[in-house]
């Protein structure tokens, strides 16, 4: 499937050169004067923002997996109220903008519950939003395990807990992996919206940086790089995991 590595390397460099040239031409055409020195002084702010984004993302990932798993179980439940409730939650969370969920969740729900810390509220709200997507990814993976596997599990004498533990979950994890990683990458990027409830994560820091150094765009290039530094290794690691679980071909 993979072409020889020397050819891959050649094409990687060739494409990189073409893209760089294209970007250079584009940037040169607009005559924007880059003023890197003025934002350099704000680097510690930038790094602090990056760690905030990472922290929120990690927290929200944990929340999203728990929420996703719970909603998936609810969606598959034969108990009608539970099924309807989970389906409703998934539809509302997936169907409405995260921005609205953050504003209402923070200023109305969290206030009513006397939770003041925007970091905690933001992390939980982001986790719930992404969890709704994960629920559907998990559900799809579990329902894709064929009836013959369930029957085989019963035939060897597994009860239903053992069937899930030994047969369905191990196979479903592999199928859910690509979708889940994609969702995690989205989660990291979506965390930028948390600035609306006053969290100074990376994007917000860059905005502050840009305005206080009287520059317009300088901060956004390092911003893109700071996200890619996290998301590309994540995708790479996911591909590696996928290969480890690849047994069906």
């Amino acid at each position: 499937m993979n072409p020889p590595s020397s050819r891959r390397l050649f094409w990687s460099f060739a494409l990189l050169a073409v893209v760089s040239l294209g970007m250079y031409v584009t940037f040169a055409a607009v005559h924007y004067t880059w003023n890197w020195s003025s934002i350099w002084g704000y680097r510690s702010q930038f790094i602090w923002g990056w760690f905030t984004t990472l922290g929120i993302s990690l927290g929200a990932m944990v929340v999203s997996i728990i929420v996703g798993f719970a909603l998936m179980i609810g969606r598959r439940s034969s108990c009608t109220p539970l099924h309807l409730l989970s389906t409703g939650i998934v539809e509302v969370l997936r169907g409405s903008p995260l921005l609205v969920q953050l504003l209402l969740g923070y200023y109305i729900v969290a206030t009513a519950l006397y939770v003041g810390d925007p970091l905690i509220v933001g992390t939980v709200l982001l986790g719930c939003f992404e969890g709704a997507y994960l629920a559907e990814i998990f559900r799809g993976a579990i329902e894709s395990i064929s009836a013959s596997q369930r029957e085989a599990a019963r035939a060897v004498g597994f009860d239903s807990a053992q069937t899930y533990r030994f047969v369905i979950i191990p196979q479903a994890v592999r199928r859910a992996l690509p979708g889940t990683t994609g969702q995690m990458v989205s989660l990291i990027k979506d965390s930028s919206l948390l600035s609306v409830i006053g969290i100074e994560e990376l994007v917000q820091k860059v905005r502050i940086m840009n305005s206080s150094s009287y520059t317009a765009l300088e901060g956004y290039l390092p911003l893109a790089v700071a996200y890619l530094v996290v998301t590309i290794p994540l995708s790479w690691y996911a591909r590696k995991l996928e290969r480890r679980f690849a047994y069906e071909t």
Binding site: S146, S148, Q149, E151, A152, A153, R154, A155, V156, G157, F158, D159, Q162, F166, V167, P170, Q171, R174, F245, Y247, E248, T249
Partner: protein, 245 residues
């Protein structure tokens, strides 16, 4: 063994797979073959006899013991049996060895070491010792089916139930698998076999249950069935199958 059903019905949605099925085998049958055209209810009857499916109504009696209908007891009962299906019933994420070891440990209370010993012994007997570490996708169809037989045999089942075990295999692999089944039958293993391999059934079976449209048309000693089938559908079925053999 002695198998018996009384007015058993089983439906899938609107489809009536077993339609008040009743039959009784001889008291000392060793290999019972379930024969009949596709869609006639062979696979369903096999699952009902093994306790894998619970019928909607009617009674299933194995060796004069009625099978339980409560889920808990039914599971306990079915653990006494071994099943092999048409294909693709090994767990694809586990090696051949793990496929056998896992149920032994999780269901039958074997220690890990004992389970491995038992599994390797069976894989050797079925000619798969070099392949024990391979996942199903790395095995040929015949090897997969032999591994499935090894898994079914591992806990020393009372009944070994085989549902068209060679239907997905080419003639060479079919031969490999049938050899194994014949050896098991000759070794005294009690077998229930749903199959289209008439000539094989004729060699190993001592009792035949012939089903059409969810009803048993004939249940008699194998010799009698193959020599002088009494029902018209059975005669047609046998004639149709032997036309090109």
């Amino acid at each position: 063994m002695k198998l018996e059903t009384r007015q058993v019905t089983k439906r899938y949605g609107d489809f009536l797979a077993l339609d008040g099925t009743s039959f009784q085998t001889g008291t000392d049958s060793h290999v019972v073959a379930l024969l009949g055209p596709s869609g006639g209810g062979k696979s369903t009857l096999l699952r009902v006899l093994g306790g894998l499916l619970l019928p909607e109504s009617g009674e299933v009696v194995v060796n004069d013991q009625p099978l339980p209908n409560e889920p808990e007891k039914a599971l306990k009962n079915l653990r006494k049996n071994g099943f092999v299906f048409q294909g693709y019933n090994l767990f694809p994420h586990l090696s051949a060895l793990q496929n056998i070891v896992l149920p032994l440990c999780a269901v039958h209370g074997f220690s890990d070491a004992d389970a491995k010993k038992r599994a390797l012994e069976l894989l050797r007997r079925l000619g798969l010792e070099e392949h024990f570490h391979k996942r199903p996708a790395e095995l040929s169809g015949g090897q997969q089916q032999r591994a499935a037989i090894a898994r079914a045999l591992a806990p020393k089942p009372d009944l070994l139930l085989l549902d068209e075990p060679t239907s997905a295999l080419d003639p060479v692999m079919t031969g490999e698998v049938l050899d194994v089944i014949r050896e098991l039958a000759e070794g005294g293993q009690q077998i229930v076999l749903a199959t289209h391999e008439i000539s094989f059934a004729r060699k190993v079976a001592d009792w035949v249950v012939f089903l059409v449209k969810g009803r048993v048309e004939e249940s008699c000693a194998a010799e009698q069935f193959f020599e002088q089938p009494t029902s018209a559908p059975a005669r047609e079925y046998l004639a149709g199958l032997s036309r090109y053999r």
